[in-house]
């Protein structure tokens, strides 16, 4: 369940890979020392992104999303593995203006105006889009003379978007572009984005919000614990959530055995536990309920229809569980 489920990337093994187009990550890992402990932020990612795709990277905090995007941007080097960006090293692609990004909050000078900020960054590129043009496309024409410190969070984010448009990139990377915005500002940002950026351009964005991934992406990559745990179209991901969520309390000592039995059933998508609470997602909710109540002595039974949210929780939660198991074993 890594890159195989996406049609454009399935060709990479069958025919010679189109190395001059798109983004390719092979066996990429990133570890760093933090407070004397080794942290494996990215624990092995293989990924290909074809030109023209709009791809969302979804995952909880600490899933390795930002670190992965940083490596694609050449802001940090992978510990092992290889990344090619439009047939070149990531930094080269960035220098050539083929790849640009809207970074997470921060990264603006408060004592410059919006227009000056755009001029500043524009001057570092040998060729760039006209300054007034990108300000207009980011919806900042009427605020261009304002100091950055006087812009709202949403306006600052649109300014970062304007900066990203300057080199007219083939790939636009957005790292949680709407974090900290209210619903209205978020909608406004994506409206601006959609009008301009998706015009044949490859877009790769990280987000917490399923709704954003669902609305704007052709393809969703889910990350947890530094790995890709799901990769497919929004429909494919949603399909994993078909069926129902059934949960019940079982006696503490029986939790392990219950999980074992539930995983044995056919059509089971995931089984997770939280204390005495066992939660299973599967197609046949009746069979799940019967097993839980009659054979496993379950109480407080609850049956709900699975949403995309539930699929997300199931897929990422499962990966996180496996991850904690591993670390416990090594101790």
């Amino acid at each position: 369940m890594t890159t195989t489920s996406s049609p454009p990337t399935g060709t990479t093994t069958a025919s010679p890979p189109p190395t001059t187009d798109g983004i390719h990550l092979e066996g990429v890992t990133k570890s760093f020392r933090s407070g004397g402990e080794m942290v494996h932020a990215v624990a092995g990612v293989d990924l290909s992104i074809a030109p023209g795709q709009v791809v969302a990277v979804l995952g909880p905090n600490g899933a390795g999303k930002t670190t992965t995007l940083d490596m694609v941007l050449g802001l940090t080097e992978p510990t092992t593995g290889r990344i090619t960006s439009f047939g070149a090293a990531p930094r080269r692609a960035v220098h050539e203006g083929r790849v640009s990004a809207v970074l997470q909050t921060g990264g603006l000078l408060r004592d410059l105006t919006a227009r000056e900020t755009v001029r500043y960054i524009a001057s570092t590129f040998p060729r760039h889009e006209p300054v007034e043009d990108v300000l207009q496309r980011a919806g900042l024409s009427d605020k261009a003379g304002r100091l950055v410190s006087k812009l709202s969070g949403g306006e600052q984010q649109r300014l970062r978007f304007a900066l990203a448009l300057l080199p007219d990139p083939d790939l636009l990377i957005l790292d949680e572009p709407t974090a900290g915005m209210d619903v209205g500002a978020r909608r406004e940002f994506w409206r601006t984005m959609h009008e301009d950026a998706t015009n044949g351009r490859t877009v790769l964005f990280a987000t917490h919000y399923l709704e954003e991934a669902d609305n704007f992406a052709d393809r969703i990559i889910m990350m947890a614990g530094g790995r890709i745990v799901a990769d497919g179209t929004t429909e494919q991901i949603r399909a994993r959530a078909r069926g129902r969520t059934v949960s019940a309390d079982v006696r503490r000592g029986d939790v392990g055995a219950a999980v074992e039995r539930l995983r044995g059933l056919t059509g089971i998508a995931s089984v997770t536990t939280n204390g005495e609470r066992v939660t299973a997602i599967g197609e046949d909710s009746d069979a799940l309920a019967r097993l839980l109540l009659l054979e496993l002595g379950g109480t407080n039974l609850e049956v709900t229809t699975a949403s995309l949210d539930a699929a997300f929780m199931a897929i990422t939660g499962e990966a996180m569980d496996e991850d904690t198991d591993e670390t416990e074993e090594t101790r």
Binding site: T66, L73, L75, T76, V94, S100, L109, R110, T124, L163
Partner: protein, 252 residues
């Protein structure tokens, strides 16, 4: 070299009135109090008078404060993640450092010009070429200290780093024979401190290496001593800056 970057960076500086006040007005005030207003200011020394000697010293202090504060602004930028934004552009490390260095030189001209103008008006005297030579050397030496500010800024990434860098300048100004004439062991120690070389070189056209301590003893120092001091400190600061700029690009 990118004129747009330098222009915009200068614009940012001119918006910081408080900073400009401390860079230019404070050292000028110190010259007036410790040089122009003192009776010994009229005494001759080398190719001019003592007032000129004090004027050069305070110009060095002002210029260095200016360049260090430019480095301090780099600290705040790093804190705000501007380094990551620049990491997404073709601007190389060398270009970034060069922009900041040019900015530092331009900002350093402000206290030098102000203090020299006050010097002309308040009785500092010396050969005409000495004025220009000392100003030029001061400017050149202070530009090295843009790196000193950058190192502090890049290493500590906080506003307090700016304060720490400026604060340490006062100490190094005393240790570097700038504020008061040192002698004996203190003078020997001074020769290893970072501001000693700059101020000795800046005074050289006036004094030709001669100096008088508090007791009135005349002594002479060869030109290579301040030259080696400046050379070694420049190398140390340049290497540290390049290392820290590279480290700053990584988020972790």
């Amino acid at each position: 070299m990118n004129p747009t970057l330098i222009g915009l960076e200068l614009k940012r500086y001119c918006r910081d009135y408080v900073g400009l006040f401390f860079i230019a007005v404070l050292p000028a005030f110190m010259y007036v109090v410790f040089g122009a207003a003192q009776t010994f200011g009229k005494e001759e020394i080398g190719r001019g008078n003592v007032a000129l000697y004090v004027m050069i010293s305070m110009a060095v202090y002002g210029a260095v404060t200016a360049t260090v504060s430019v480095g301090g602004s780099a600290a705040v930028e790093r804190m705000q993640g501007w380094g990551r934004q620049l990491g997404l552009t073709p601007l190389r490390d060398g270009g970034y450092v060069a922009t900041k260095a040019v900015l530092a030189v331009v900002i350093a001209c402000i206290p030098i010009a102000l203090i020299y103008v006050i010097g002309v008006a308040s009785g500092a005297q010396g050969d005409l070429w000495v004025w220009f030579a000392t100003a030029g050397i001061t400017l050149f030496g202070a530009s090295v200290f843009a790196l000193y500010g950058l190192v502090f800024g890049l290493a500590f990434k906080s506003e307090s780093a700016v304060g720490a860098a400026s604060g340490s300048l006062v100490v190094f100004a005393f240790l570097g024979n700038i504020f008061i004439p040192l002698s004996g062991v203190m003078l020997t120690i001074a020769k290893f401190t970072p501001l000693y070389g700059i101020v000795s070189l800046a005074r050289y056209p006036l004094t030709e290496g001669y100096s008088v301590d508090m007791q009135g003893n005349l002594s002479h120092e060869a030109l290579w001593v301040p030259l080696v001091n400046v050379g070694v400190w420049t190398l140390i600061l340049a290497l540290l800056t390049v290392y820290l700029v590279r480290r700053g690009r990584d988020r972790q």
